[in-house]
Symmetry: C3
Subunit: 109 residues, 3 copies
């Protein structure tokens, strides 16, 4: 058994969970926060047999999209009276970052 | 050392954490959401020595109960004017789903 | 690749994430609850190469501080009319509790 931890954009979380469910995969959603953008995202836990990992990855790939976000860089130290007109910086926010962990035991009560 | 990740029903989370504490086990609770019912549940992290796993599993088993929940199935595509009277579907929500992971290092500062 | 799961005090979470970012480490924050104090804390996920683990641990050590908190012990069973004047109990809340897990695969879409 493996535990797939997939960090995805908040907007992709529910479509991904529905697609996994339709394909017979159980999942659990954790609301998380990205370290760089400090925006909410989602970490999806999927416990599954090792031979099903390629199918799970295919579903994640199909449902999670890279997007361009504009981020205002942190303001520099300013002289009084100076006007700060930030040029937003373009940041590519990935579709998904996926960690596959080995599970020693899976127990259900 | 092992990390036990136990997904339990929200109502069982606090009694479980108290029972673990009384038996000398530390734990951390994450509020999570089930992929199928889309309802809140809880994922409990318990880091412990490998030889203590049977004791931890026994405490989880004693404190987490299977329950029957009634779920309204998703409405089918309807003709205008048709009345939709869903028959709730019975779903068994398990007591606990438990993943035991191996920990390479445990460090405390 | 390794996945570092570091449970830290809520007040240390954002300074830690900034320090990690400045050193080129990505991270994800999960809001969690401690089993003993039942207070909010934070679990920080950091995926990184195995040879970078000592640098990550050093940053966690520098940014997470042990603190003394005063906890009112649970009231004992009282006679009617008895006044309960709890003596707060001193509890050391650690700087960080860190689990290092092995990652079988890291995939990005
Ligand atoms: N120092 C930096 N300079 C410039 N651009 C930077 C940057 N750090 C991150 N970015 C960009 O910002 C996006 C959002 O990062 P954030 O940390 O908010 O949100 C991240 C974070 O929550 C998580 N994540 C990514 N790599 C991780 C890792 N190694 N460990 C833990 N979490 C990770 O996945 C989310 C999406 O990551 P993704 O790589 O797709 O997308 C990242 C990346 O394209
Ligand atoms: N496709 C389906 N058709 C019919 N019934 C279905 C179903 N998928 C789930 N169920 C039922 O619904 C209950 C709640 O599932 P949910 O996904 O909301 O909440 C789940 C989910 O959050 C988590 N979970 C279970 N298996 C998992 C896995 N392999 N990976 C990740 N999370 C899992 O544990 C919670 C409880 O699971 P549990 O199995 O005890 O109980 C499940 C199961 O009895
Ligand atoms: N039975 C007990 N008797 C007396 N004092 C006790 C105790 N259990 C815990 N403490 C103290 O209370 C602090 C907060 O524990 P809490 O469980 O709320 O918050 C914990 C918990 O969320 C997590 N944690 C620690 N060890 C863990 C483990 N083995 N598994 C899962 N989570 C753990 O890290 C947080 C900080 O732990 P830390 O050890 O630094 O600090 C702990 C410890 O100093």
């Amino acid at each position: 058994t493996k535990l797939v931890v997939s960090i995805v954009h908040s907007d992709d979380a529910d479509p991904l969970i529905s697609a996994l469910r339709d394909a017979g995969f159980s999942s659990t959603k954790i609301s998380t926060t990205g370290g760089f953008l400090r925006e909410g995202n989602a970490s999806i836990l999927i416990g599954t047999e090792g031979d099903k990992i390629p199918a799970v990855l295919e579903i994640i790939k199909r449902n999670c999209h890279t997007r361009t976000q504009y981020v205002n860089p942190l303001p520099p130290v300013m002289e009084p009276g100076e006007l700060y007109m930030p040029n937003p910086v373009e940041v590519q926010v990935g579709g998904a970052v996926i960690f596959v962990l080995d599970v020693e035991q899976l127990i259900r009560y």
